[in-house]
Amino acid sequence: MLAEFLQFLFSGITVGATYALAALGFTLIYNASHVINFAQGEFIMLGGMLAVLFAQMGLPLPAVLLLAVLVPAVVGVLVEKLAIEPVKGAETVTLIIITIGASLVIRGLVQVWLGKNTFSLPAFSGDEPIHVLGATLLPQSLWVLGITALVVVALWYFFNRTLQGKAMLATSVNRLAAELVGINTSWVLFMSFAMSAALGALGGILITPITMTSYDVGIMLGLKGFVAAVVGGLGNGLGAVVGGLLVGILEAMGAGYISSAYKDAIPFVLILLILFFMPRGLFGGKSTDRV
């Protein structure tokens, strides 16, 4: 009983950490530009696929990690420079379509380049499971959770203790006011796309040894990351992390106890319930409009 529960909990938290990283990515870009970046899922895919590619080339693990995070970050910046910045101030739907276009281009290119096969990546430190109260925990799960925790702490430090981080927060609160006090808001936009792509890619790399990857995994992962971001209240960093973990855990519990065929539907049922009963998400503040 307890063992089964723990087993679901472990797998839920592990996947949830990936959702949390993706949700943080959504949050960063949403705060900087009010764009919902539907290409976020493709960065998760890109991270995993590139890690597989670099690992097959025989690069050492740290180099694999670094490159598979940096390249998607560059792609993220390219998307921002080439496609988002030229249409600043366009309607939300227009921006959404652009990010969807970008996601199709990225997915299509990876499909042409690396094919439609499913790839896997060796775990970072072996596959010997750890036994905890009758449940098993993969060492890779610890990597996922550890690195996610580090990233969250680093982000907290960045946004609360550094000038650059505070400049980004200020821009999300009021772009015009931020510009007036001398913040370079187009640098903020640039940074949010780079960071958000890097976060997504990192999640993709970490989870690949457990779930495997292929050119089309980005859609579902991205959408679930979006759910996680909204669950926590869109634009709220802490909310994104909690939302990600919650979505992951409920999905694993639902798949285990209710129906594994409906596993992918669970995050979306959750979001509908939350929108009905807690319309601002779990951590969203009350908002007032200035007319």
């Binding site: 496609a83 309607e91 379509i97 979306f268 509908l272 409009d289």
Partner: protein, 312 residues
């Protein structure tokens, strides 16, 4: 009402009347039917996106409800296709109302999120309930019969769909010019201002969402009967995105833009088939380029260029 807006309708009627006599073969007639079906769905969706300023990322879900109502009810329960179609449409409308009511009190991306979730849940259910729907493989659809007369050939379907398209365009033009339409445009401009002058914002948004869901569901049924086969891909996220793209590429808040968007994006995959393997990249690149260079969509951008400073 600006009488000039009807010129487009007359033009459309002429084109629709002439088209079946000039297309070289059935391939193009089939394409024309599918374009017209998409155009009707997109006009409904554009009322929501372009006029009311709300995004639905799950509209294919309503298409799916209509299509599967028309497939499952006659096949497994012996219902008449028309009853099945109307039941599907009512179910879609009901579901839309149920989902929209709490959500339209919110602002921003929440409807996008909720419709996206709804669409995905519908799609997953269609895939999993294989005993009714045939699962991922899909299922055949019985032909549509009206008053003992069976609609079968592409040509018959063409006239049915063309008539529906004309009706939809005429209805939408009138709707936009009615107090209802003015209220919609007002709330797109400023919700607070329209509330101040007495527009019940939430109610209008719910009504237009329900209307567009109803119309999508009916067209889902018609597509199902026309193609004679239905699979869950018809109701998936990508199809929803395609529909939104048609709205935006054609031009938001433009009825004729919706037709142009539907025509172009229905033809595009055919044109891209020659790119073997690169279709997705090409499709994505075209979407981005259109939006970067014509963020308001084709028809409004071109209209603005040709009438320079003219107010419409």
């Amino acid at each position: 009402m600006n009488k000039r807006i009807y010129y487009g309708l007359y033009g459309l009627i002429v084109i629709l009347l002439v088209l079946p006599f000039v297309v070289p073969n059935n391939f193009y007639l089939d394409l024309a039917v599918r374009m017209a079906i998409n155009a009707i769905i997109v006009i409904g969706l554009n009322l929501l996106i372009g006029f009311a300023g709300q995004i639905s990322l799950g509209h294919a879900g309503f298409l799916g409800i209509g299509a599967y109502a028309s497939a499952v009810l006659p096949m497994h329960f012996g219902w008449h296709p028309v009853t099945a179609m109307l039941t599907g449409a009512l179910a879609s409308a009901l579901l839309a109302a149920l989902v929209a009511k709490p959500i339209f009190k919110l602002k921003g991306h929440y409807l996008a999120m909720a419709t996206l979730g709804l669409g995905i849940i519908i799609n997953i259910a269609l895939r999993n309930e294989a005993q009714w729907t045939g699962g991922p493989d899909g299922m055949p659809v019985l032909p549509m019969a009206l008053f003992g007369f069976e609609i079968g050939s592409d040509r018959q379907w063409y006239w049915v769909v063309a008539a529906l398209l004309v009706l939809t365009v005429w209805g939408s033009l009138n709707l936009i010019d009615s107090p209802f339409g003015r209220a919609l445009r007002a709330l797109h401009g400023s919700e607070v201002a329209s509330q101040v002058v007495g527009v019940n914002v939430a109610r209008y948004k719910v009504s237009i969402f329900v209307l567009s869901a109803f119309s999508a569901s009916i067209m889902g049924s018609i597509s199902a009967h026309y193609i004679g086969f239905i699979s869950p891909n018809f109701a998936d996220f990508f199809h929803s995105i395609e529909l939104v793209t048609m709205v935006v590429i054609g031009g938001m808040a433009s009825v004729y833009g919706s037709i142009v968007g539907a025509v172009l994006l229905t033809a595009l995959p055919q044109a891209l088939a020659t790119f073997e393997g690169w279709e997705t990249v090409a499709f994505g690149a075209i979407l981005m380029l259109c939006m970067i260079f014509m963020p308001r969509g084709l028809v409004p951008t071109l209209a603005a260029r040709f009438s320079k400073g003219d107010d419409k």
